[in-house]
């Protein structure tokens, strides 16, 4: 029992340390940039030719430095970040000053969660089903065809796949909208609302599902199956004359499900940083877009907010998996 407690405690300590290191890295890197949001904003005002009083600009600059918390030495700023994080305050967004980061994340989070939970689960399920089956029958023609497709599809740059899908299904065969999150006016929950949401999420989802299901999840489950089926216990089962379906279900799938579930857990944890490229291509209003905007506008607080969410997501998923693993898999012990 105490062994278990020590195990749990050590995992939690490791989790905390991981988060601390992650936050520190995310704090340091943007501040090393030779650019800062105040000057960016001033430069922007210059470049669009807005008429300003020349002396007013200088006072504007000074005030913005104060407001954005960019005065003070790095140690103070760092401590300030932790003070805020521990009180669950992410501070104001700089690019949308003075709206709090938490508010903006709150707006974007449901979109990302909706889109990604759905597409990750679908692509995981699909990919594993076809991957396992074709791994099991790796000599069959369909298996070779699928593998070939996966190997070719997997390395295609993501952006290009998304654009091709957009061109095909929003222009040539216009069954989906070009982008955006929702186009319905009026309030209230209705079937139309759901359909509208689904229609907009379809292309982004497909462009995550295809490379995911046919690329990554397929290849990994295919690989695992191919390996596992050379294990002695599988051969034994086969030599015993068990039908394929039973060998597949009882002997293989369980063993493959273990590592794949782990990977699924991590993938779900990773949802919190959004799907940057997809969201950019399809103007999907999720966290990835927000993060990208924050990066190009040097919105430190926003970068920190979303990264923290993502760091917590992945490390919590890791922690949970570590803690739960021994419960599922008898060959792993707490130690």
């Amino acid at each position: 029992m105490s062994k278990l407690l020590i195990f749990i405690a050590s995992r939690i300590v490791a989790f905390a340390l991981t988060v601390v290191i992650g936050v520190t890295v995310v704090f340091v890197i943007p501040r090393l940039l030779p650019y800062n949001p105040v000057e960016a904003q001033i430069g922007f005002i210059y470049s669009i030719g807005q008429f300003y009083d020349p002396t007013a600009i200088e006072s504007l600059r000074q005030t913005l430095y104060e407001l954005y918390g960019l005065r003070g030495n790095p140690v103070e700023q760092y401590l300030g970040v932790w003070r805020r994080l521990l009180t669950l305050d992410l501070g104001p967004s700089i690019m949308s000053f003075p709206t709090p980061v938490a508010t903006l994340i709150g707006i974007a989070l449901p979109w990302t969660l909706g889109l990604l939970t759905f597409s990750v689960l679908i692509s995981w399920t699909l990919g594993n089903i076809i991957g396992t089956i074709s791994g099991f029958f790796s000599q069959k023609k369909f298996s070779k065809v699928l593998t070939g497709m996966a190997v070719v599809l997997y390395p295609v740059p993501y952006f290009i796949l998304a654009l091709v899908l957009m061109f095909t299904f929003a222009f040539l065969i216009p069954i989906f909208p070009l982008g955006g999150g929702i186009t319905i006016v009026g309030v209230g929950f209705s079937l139309d609302l759901v359909l509208n949401l689904a229609k907009h999420a379809a292309l982004p989802a497909i462009s995550i599902i295809i490379p995911g299901a046919l690329g990554w999840w397929f290849l990994s489950s295919f690989t695992l199956t191919s390996q596992k089926k050379t294990e002695d216990y599988v051969r034994y089962a086969e030599l015993k004359g068990l039908p394929n379906s039973i060998v597949l279900r009882r002997y293989l799938i369980r063993n493959i499900l273990m590592p794949q579930t782990t990977a699924l857990g991590l993938a779900l944890g990773g949802i919190f940083s959004g799907a940057l490229l997809t969201e950019v291509v399809y103007a999907y209003p999720g966290l990835g877009r927000l993060l990208y905007q924050a990066i190009i506008n040097n919105d430190y607080n926003m970068i920190m907010g979303i990264s923290l969410l993502s760091i917590l997501g992945v490390s919590l998923a890791t922690l949970l998996l570590d803690l739960l693993y021994p419960l599922i898999d008898p060959t792993v012990r707490y130690r």
Binding site: D53, P54, F97, A170, G186, P285
Partner: protein, 760 residues
């Protein structure tokens, strides 16, 4: 770990990949695979089920022909519910209120617009141009009678005074202009405001006049009073324009505005806009916008790169741009794009070096690279002045001989322009550029101590190899990026190592602001109107450079702080005391431009052509050059309001509530300012207090106005509240406040009563 493709988490993905082993299995169970494939197909098909594609966000039953669809060029707004137009400085995507949401075109209360095509003032909420005192230390603004907010409250001098004081008192950075310039403001009568300035300034009203965008608007006192200027969201916004906000995308991509049929302008000017709805929408990346335009799901668009424009041109036969047919591109964007030198950093601090680099440029190649497939051409602009017809006559032609001394060749690209039918070739065949002159460049550099190394590459005077870094844009203003790569190529051919660094908007603007660059494709040369002072001309004077190195400001334009140019300082000083529309002002500008040419602090090529497409499928009467050029076709400027008021349905798209033949708007263009003589000023300011009794009339008028709107028996209740103001001193403020409060109470009561009544 991530879902987005190839990067996040590819690490773990690929590491799990390999090991495909072969194993012999010959069981007939491929049906599993087939059913899996069926599942896949079914899943894909299912997600495709909702095939109906009314893809624009419109209320149920609204036909396409009732809606004007305009691009939201800022993209996704992180918080689409904050309509506070003052909290965030600048007009960037930080704040939703300006920019791509339609707020500044349809809603914001502007005193004046400036017509960029003739540099005249269009009084809007103000009745006439501002009247300045002879010494330019005060001005009087007279408001138009009969203007009211869309909630029925009159828009009066009190609102103007409130706005100025509110901004002045709000915590910085809000109202920095007002803090710096306004000493006091007070209402002389219901429609007249006297503004006293801290220092003489004949251009103060530019803060409140729309030049292109970013001008301050008037805030409704009855809404904003007592509100936190930073936190108040004003959601939905209180407008004084022909549309009210109807719906907002919770995701921040689109904004739907609905026509307000009792708009003050409909009463005053007798016009009602044709479109029942105006939709501002972000379809996504440029590819998506181009596709939307070919599907008639976008009526007006900011711009596309020529290559993407090609897609639209080929697929949309109804397309219009700056002209009704090709060439389409609008060649008069208000900023001359080109490259700027950091005049503080050696060797670019020497004008000879800057000139040498200018002579190393082959302008024809650059010009040709910007000729579009539809034969659109840029308008050459060697001076930092946009060559509108008026500007060519005021600046380019008078300075022609002077420019020629510096190698200006007015015929340099005339043949290319002529074969592409550029708008200026016939009437003004004077637009050219500095001719490429490698010998002169060589000689200028050698005279400065530069040498060529054994490999033919240039060495700095100290003997080290010369490498130039050009900072340029990435992901926005892509035309400037193309300029950077073209120039880099030409300088390399001349023997200088050049590196191009593309930067996103944040880093790019920062470099500009703090001057952290050697050479960059920045554009200090913006000029919307003939009065060049309106755009940073003031910063050419050394007195306005207050920063030290590293503290900002070094990049913006022409830093003359450490090496003042006395004649330039004198010109700026005199301009600050000169009527901006007087001949003397233009003389001074020409003098300043000569100094600019001599020193060449930056090198402008041309305003890059903007494919400001307008779709003629559902709407017509777009502004097109030259036959119907009533306004620049620029959907992101506040002036686009005048286009929205003019367009009419073609009938190709089904309509229901659109007005088929709207009455055209007649609105006066006036001089930029009025300057009172001492006697006139005395009579305006020092005269007896204005007569009483004016308010009653207007208030009653607005009350009637409300009645039609509310359709209840508020009438009697409110009419009793008419106020007769005797003295517009202390009393008037109190009286107006009481009046407004009573009015609001009355309306509230009326509305409450109305709600209780059964439906009629």
């Amino acid at each position: 770990m991530d879902l987005d493709g190839k990067i996040y988490g590819v690490s773990e993905k690929i590491y799990m990949l390999p090991i495909l082993s072969s194993y012999r299995m010959n069981r007939k169970t491929s049906y599993i695979a087939i059913s899996a494939a069926l599942v896949l197909v079914a899943a894909l098909a299912l997600s495709a089920v909702p095939v109906s594609y009314g893809q624009l966000p419109l209320p149920a039953g609204v036909p396409r022909g009732d809606v004007l669809v305009i691009e939201n060029h800022w993209g996704t707004y992180a918080n689409p519910n904050n309509w506070n137009p003052i909290a965030s400085p600048g007009v960037g995507p930080a704040s939703i209120a300006p920019g791509g949401s339609g707020y500044q075109q349809l809603c914001k209360a502007f005193l004046w617009y400036i017509n960029t095509s003739n540099s005249m003032l269009i009084p809007w909420i103000a009745a006439e141009p501002p009247i300045y005192s002879p010494d330019f230390t005060s001005l009087i603004v007279k408001l138009r009678d009969g203007v009211y907010w869309n909630d029925g409250t009159p828009l009066t001098a009190e609102d103007v005074v409130f706005t100025l004081k509110y901004l002045k008192e709000a915590p910085a950075p809000i109202g920095v202009n007002e803090k710096a310039s306004v000493k006091d403001a007070r209402a002389l009568d219901r429609l007249t405001v006297l503004i006293e300035l801290n220092s003489p300034n004949p251009r103060w009203h530019y803060f409140y006049a729309v030049i292109i965008y970013g001008a301050s608007g008037i805030l409704p006192k009855h809404v904003w009073q007592g509100k936190d200027p930073q936190k108040f969201e004003d959601n939905p916004p209180t407008c004084a324009g022909p549309y009210n906000l109807r719906a907002v995308d919770p995701a921040g991509n689109w904004f739907l505005w609905e026509r307000f049929d009792n708009w003050w302008g409909s009463k005053v000017f007798g016009v009602v806009p044709a479109a029942k709805y105006v939709l501002y929408i972000n379809h996504g990346p440029d590819e998506a916008k181009a596709l939307a335009m070919t599907k008639h799901e976008l009526d007006a668009l900011r711009t596309l790169l020529p290559e993407q424009a090609e897609l639209v041109i080929k697929n949309n036969p109804y397309l219009k741009g700056w002209r009704a047919s090709a060439p389409f591109a609008w060649p008069l964007d208000p900023c001359v794009k080109g490259i700027a030198f950091q005049t503080k950093t050696p060797p670019f601090d020497k004008r000879e070096v800057r000139w040498a680099l200018a002579y190393a440029i082959d302008y024809r190649t650059i010009y040709r690279a910007f000729v579009g497939i539809d034969k659109s051409t840029p308008t050459p602009a060697a001076l930092p002045v946009i060559p509108h017809a008026a500007d060519i006559e005021t600046y380019y032609i008078p300075l022609l001989d002077y420019l020629k001394q510096y190698g200006y060749d007015p015929e340099l690209v005339l043949d290319i322009a002529r074969e592409n039918n550029a708008w200026w070739v016939e009437k003004y065949p004077v637009l050219g550029f500095w001719k490429q002159d490698l010998a002169k460049a060589e000689q200028l550099l050698t005279a400065q101590g530069f040498k060529r190394g054994p490999d033919g590459k240039w060495l700095l005077p100290d003997g080290t190899p010369w490498t130039i870094e050009i900072k340029t844009t990435s992901g926005f203003e892509m035309e400037s990026q193309r300029i950077a790569f073209l120039v880099a190529d030409q300088w390399r051919a001349f023997g200088i190592d050049v590196k191009v660094t593309p930067l996103e908007s944040g880093p790019f603007s920062t470099s500009y602001s703090i001057g952290d660059f050697q050479v960059g494709t920045f554009w200090p040369g913006c000029s919307q109107i003939l009065d060049l002072y309106a755009n940073w001309f003031n910063r050419w004077s050394s007195k306005y450079w207050v920063q030290k190195k590293g503290e900002g400001g070094h990049g913006t334009g022409w830093n003359t702080k450490d090496a003042p140019i006395p004649e330039l300082d004198r010109i700026v000083d005199e301009l600050e005391r000169t009527d901006p529309s007087s001949p003397r002002a233009f003389e001074l500008y020409r003098e300043a431009l000569k100094i600019w040419v001599r020193d060449l602090p930056w090198l402008g090529f041309f305003p890059t052509p903007f494919y400001t497409f307008q779709d003629g499928y559902a709407w017509e009467n777009w502004p097109t050059f030259p036959e119907n050029y009533y306004m620049d076709p620029v959907s992101w400027w506040s002036q686009h309001l005048f286009v929205i008021l003019k367009v009419k349905p073609t009938g190709r798209a089904p309509t229901k509530d659109a007005i088929m033949d709207p009455k055209p708007l007649q609105v006066a263009n006036t001089p930029l300012v009025k300057i009172a003589s001492a006697a006139e000023w005395q009579s305006l300011v020092g005269g007896p207090p204005p007569a009483a009794g004016v308010t009653t009339v207007t208030l009653r008028e607005t009350v009637t106005q409300r009645v039609t709107e509310l359709r209840t028996q508020v009438v009697t209740q409110v009419q009793t509240q008419t106020v007769t103001a005797v003295d517009w001193g202390m009393l008037s403020g109190v009286a107006a406040a009481v009046g407004i409060v009573l009015l609001v109470v009355g309306i509230a009561v009326g509305r409450a009563l109305g709600r209780r009544r059964p439906a009629q």
